[in-house]
Symmetry: C2
């Protein structure tokens, strides 16, 4: 990584050690811990269980690791790398241990409800969402360079501390992310379409195929399943707790997405029902063009 | 490849050259041509355009290549590696050139309508479906070893010539495929669920995201699109002509699949609407378990 160590204050050029606290050392927290240590930061990791602390120490995910929230005292930045439900209902002991002067951010995949809660809890909270998911999770999954060229969305509102925003922007840039700024409302609408709706669409496909009652057909499906099935059903078989949390905290937007989706599926159904084959080809051509338009940056 | 050259008759141990005709040298036809030549067969390739013939010769996809159907004369086996619509409405000049004594097979992804047509056209036709798709197609896409450990479904009915079935089974095995035998009806039902329904489900997702009218949200979707979106939309952006053909020739089964699918999506929608979060988690857990059950053979 060729980024410069980030600055949190203007009088930073003394030589005292600078510290970041990370709450949770799973895929996101652990990866941030590895990268920030390489950038010269003192990283203090807070985890829930002593077994996790032991493994996180073995993996060197942070400079110091503890199950006691006091480890966060004196941290300049605190990153809440926690599941959505723990961001929505924060543990009071963690809350008490976060210094009032620290800049706080989270990594949750839904932004508006988190910002609404945390802006009342801490004066320097900045809602953010690094998009570097993977099928892996837990203390064994963190790795160096996870955020390089991946989007990191910062979602401030008019009350968010301007200096705190800059500090989180620099943090994301130091980790190699592509910085995006959006309102929390827009983030949640786009995430519903691009990320949460696909989970439900894909899960419903799995349930449809799994619900086949004729064992001959069901066995044949298993024998014929190949890369197309594998790709289309990947996100539908993701972490059920995360799926539940996304739906519950982004309920309105995901319901809007499902409604829209049903209209489009019913258009295809109607075209097949009425045997309008030229129209079906046109519809599929539009889908094909849309994907290449969307994935310009992914498919070189 | 360590397979033995296949036998088409009992008195084969003379040294005269044995020949297979392949109609169409795209991904499937071209790959079969490369492998069969390596197994010691004389391969005669028939293509539509002289430009294609030139490229196929450069790539060595067959021993002899022509745009004239007479090239099929004296072939012991003829493989129709053509798009579905050309299998459903075969070119009379090709039909005339296929020797009555030859064993014929096709590679179409829908079996019942093809078998219904071809069993009237040729006494030794065996319907089959090698499942070795890829996003590539055309004369440049054929490659060696495409069928190794991939399913090759043979779908005879009670009228299919028993000796001809054995010959096509040996052909599939010689190419390294995993042989599956199914009725054409069962094949088409399973293919609708595992292969054709995912295309429509995925295309509808693309159309939903593409139909977002707010340019801020639409641009944000583009910025946030990552591997989950990429995977879930891959088959929906496949060849529109193939999607149209699959739907038109497997219409009843695909409509049944879409109807079932809508029920399952509506179950998820209802659970989210009524905020039954424990139930949503259960539904997603079932989806997760189903996928690993289906993909045992794919995910080592």
């Amino acid at each position: 990584m060729n980024s410069r160590p980030l600055k949190t204050t203007d009088n930073e050029d003394n030589n005292q050690s600078r510290s970041v606290g990370i709450v949770g050392l799973g895929l996101i927290g652990g990866s941030i811990g590895l990268d920030l240590q390489e950038l010269g930061w003192e990283v203090r990791g807070l985890v829930h269980r002593s077994k996790t602390a032991k493994r996180a120490k073995e993996r060197g995910l942070a400079s110091e690791i503890s199950t006691h929230p006091e480890i966060l005292a004196e941290c300049e930045i605190v990153i809440l790398a926690l599941p959505l439900d723990q961001l929505i209902k924060p543990d009071p002991s963690i809350l008490q241990s976060i210094p009032k002067s620290a800049v706080i951010t989270d990594v949750g995949s839904v932004k508006l409800p988190i910002l609404k809660i945390w802006e009342k809890l801490h004066p320097r909270f900045v809602a953010s969402h690094p998009m570097a998911g993977s099928t892996e999770s837990g203390v064994n999954s963190g790795r160096k360079g996870l955020f390089v060229q991946r989007p990191w969305v910062i979602t401030p509102n008019q009350n968010t501390d301007k200096q705190a925003i800059q500090i989180i922007q620099k943090l994301a840039e130091a980790l190699g992310s592509d910085l995006i700024t959006a309102t929390p409302e827009n983030h949640d609408q786009a995430a519903a379409l691009i990320s949460h709706l696909p989970v439900m669409v894909s899960a419903a496909l799995l349930r449809t195929i799994g619900n086949e009652t004729n064992p001959t057909i069901s066995n044949l499906c298993k024998q014929l399943a190949s890369s197309g099935f594998e790709d289309t059903t990947r996100v539908g078989a993701g972490n059920p707790l995360l799926g539940k949390a996304m739906a519950s905290f982004n309920r309105k937007e995901i319901l809007k997405g499902i409604k829209e989706y049903k209209n489009h599926l019913e258009t295809l159904e109607q075209v097949i029902l009425s045997e309008e084959w030229c129209k079906l080809k046109l519809e599929l051509e539009k889908a094909q063009a849309l994907r290449s338009n969307f994935l310009e940056k992914l498919d070189p």
